[in-house]
Symmetry: C4
Subunit: 262 residues, 4 copies
Amino acid sequence: MDRMSAAPPDPSPKRERLWRIIFLSDTPVGRAFDVVLLWLIALSVVTIILESVDEIRLPHANLFWTLEWIFTVLFTTEYLARLWSVRRPLRYALSFFGLLDLISILPAYLELLIPGTHYLMALRVLRLMRMFRVLKMAEYLGEASILLAALRASRRKITLFLTTVIGIVLVEGTVVYVLEHEANPDFANIPQAIYWAIVTITTVGYGDVAPITVPGKMMASIIMLTGFAIIAVPTGIVTSELGRAMGKPLAPRRCCNECGWE
Amino acid sequence: MDRMSAAPPDPSPKRERLWRIIFLSDTPVGRAFDVVLLWLIALSVVTIILESVDEIRLPHANLFWTLEWIFTVLFTTEYLARLWSVRRPLRYALSFFGLLDLISILPAYLELLIPGTHYLMALRVLRLMRMFRVLKMAEYLGEASILLAALRASRRKITLFLTTVIGIVLVEGTVVYVLEHEANPDFANIPQAIYWAIVTITTVGYGDVAPITVPGKMMASIIMLTGFAIIAVPTGIVTSELGRAMGKPLAPRRCCNECGWE
Amino acid sequence: MDRMSAAPPDPSPKRERLWRIIFLSDTPVGRAFDVVLLWLIALSVVTIILESVDEIRLPHANLFWTLEWIFTVLFTTEYLARLWSVRRPLRYALSFFGLLDLISILPAYLELLIPGTHYLMALRVLRLMRMFRVLKMAEYLGEASILLAALRASRRKITLFLTTVIGIVLVEGTVVYVLEHEANPDFANIPQAIYWAIVTITTVGYGDVAPITVPGKMMASIIMLTGFAIIAVPTGIVTSELGRAMGKPLAPRRCCNECGWE
Amino acid sequence: MDRMSAAPPDPSPKRERLWRIIFLSDTPVGRAFDVVLLWLIALSVVTIILESVDEIRLPHANLFWTLEWIFTVLFTTEYLARLWSVRRPLRYALSFFGLLDLISILPAYLELLIPGTHYLMALRVLRLMRMFRVLKMAEYLGEASILLAALRASRRKITLFLTTVIGIVLVEGTVVYVLEHEANPDFANIPQAIYWAIVTITTVGYGDVAPITVPGKMMASIIMLTGFAIIAVPTGIVTSELGRAMGKPLAPRRCCNECGWE
């Protein structure tokens, strides 16, 4: 998608060279650009993470302010260079990665107008997704494509499964709400009970919301034992698809061409 | 089952047309009816969920009262139309979906007689199960049938497994009760200890009940490590059956017809 | 094992008939005996469970005392009948099920000598394991044998895996103890830290013991992410063995006789 | 690696005999040495574990002091014997097991100079890893090699997966931090929020950090349901690789030589 929205510009060879460096990784300079960019994004993310810790930010407020603006200026320059070098700037600007690039610089400028929006800069973390494009060219390509193929093939099954789980969670949350809400302030309303049901069925089990009445605990026990069988389904789906996906590149010639399992 | 309990009525073409619209989805009007019905059920469920939140209900009590009665009237009309159009009304009324339809309108009327039964309306959530009948006709048909086939094939194994787990949970709960009940009020009785054992073996682990004595913690450690191996069983069952079920539609002709794995 | 330790007695046909009724289930009377026995065990277990609840026991102390002694007398009679009818009483008495039968009646008599030992009667729960022998004759036989074959085949792998997990838990517990024990009373000693590591690696996560220092939390994060990959191993083992075990009865003739997978 | 860094010394037959006893297990004496050493390591680890419990150490301080020095002297002798008998002492000293052997005796001597470093002796636990070398010669060899082969084959996929999970955890932690940090002191900074995200996505769920605002809980629910699908991936990877690894030694001759699945 990124590559499509960034078709090479026709006229100026200078713009095309810049485009090749910024958007592709097939030249030494282009690869270096990607690596430096990833490091800058990573450093900028680490800066935001450390800045959120009061004990670290307060004694070095100026340092963080400076670092933040250095990163903002660098990423703004990069964003403008992307816009200038690409053949269809609007298409890039509206693409997934284009919007991500914009989102990662806007909060710093918004902070000047509306104080407090500064924390949205943390979404810069998402830019690290570019890493996958760079990794693609590495030796992990084959492995990643198998994993992605298995996940893509399981997409519909997982959607169906998540729909079923949401339905189960609605029913279970409501039933436990009816059983518990009078005795237990943790189950004050149905959304809260649904939150509890999700925490339970995924076996996370924080314990911040837990049934206290006998019927509530009995229902919770049934839910947990049922969830035991349900949790097996996504694993089964991914495993089966992985087995299928892994079987393919490894068996160029085999006796049975039709069958997916081998 | 729904379709069987709703065999087309012979005489009146008007009733048959209504029956076709309400019970089947093979005509544009029938499909539209199903889609509108699902949206109404969903909206009604959202209304009940929001109504359970005090902060939302109290300022809009009248709105919720009105919405509730609009949904009740609509679903009552639908229920009567189903009863009238179907050839064997009693059979429909006693079928799984027929009882569900009744349960979803009764609480509103019961509220007039016995205040407080109103919350049972939340069971209306279960009517959303009709969604699966509509989805059946969509592209998810194949995927769903594979998942269902795998689950149906694992039915006995999962029953056997759940029986074993219930047995394990009884023994473990009792043993930890004997070890803990004098020192720890959380383990005041065996049902409570069984509840703890279920919370532990399913790896939910709320922490509302937890052992505090040294022998209790040692026993709990053994239970957790054992549970580690046990949790693998349902996943193994579903995965194996899924692999089997997935292998079938993909391999119409193969070299080995007898073997399930490929 | 039970059957072996209970070889039919030679001389008396009366004893042999009794033996056949008590130890086998191949006659209508023998099957009826097994079913009645299982119900009695189940009822006796339910009695013990209910008795442990103060709110239920205190108002019906006499009822529970009577029930307890009825069950004790019945099980004692059964135990003596087993001893008398079997050809080698000592061998039965020392077998797994023989010891279980003894353990389930002893606590009631011990209570007369040493008050308080009464709760050990709860181990009667274990007698329900006889259920599996009865179930064996039911339709679940095939399914159970597949599950058992898969578990038996994975036995060594699971032993190896549990050994590794115990090793990991020792190292992790010790390391987090060194990091946490000065700041956090929850990690007062290494056994406590190992208990925490087991709770964490099995993803139970009660939260009764949790790291509070920054290095402790970092180490815990590493442990959890590692545990993520580790939890996959037993599932993989059981799934693979199940696939193997399931493939066998379904493929009496196949093209490749040697390979386990199909 | 251990064996390579310990090539047999040429000249002295005495040194070679000692080397064979200490480093290999192919003679009765060598095997006895390994078994005794493992028992000593295990005893020393148990001593350290018990010593960490105040209730046990305080009344027997002298006993623990004596035991500690007996183990230290024994392990020092062993370390020197290893250094003397091996052909390339430096190579052994810098090998993984060589450093482990040093680390397990150093803390006792360091304690004399800097009090408090004594607890580092707990790392002696790691020496138990030698057990695997001894186990290799046992019947578990085949099983272990299958498990290791499956894990080694999944190495890249698991690395890729863990990288993705770390990325997800960064994004989720940051988003929930933005939603929660004003209302909830548990989410005081981003590292804390990332710790929460790891606790959640691995389904450990201590509950020491939990969202309290409505948007925070909604986001948490999405994270948990997503995690449900994600947790399936490592299991799928290991299962597929295990199936592959298990298929190999069992099928020396098969119809399709190329395909991994059978």
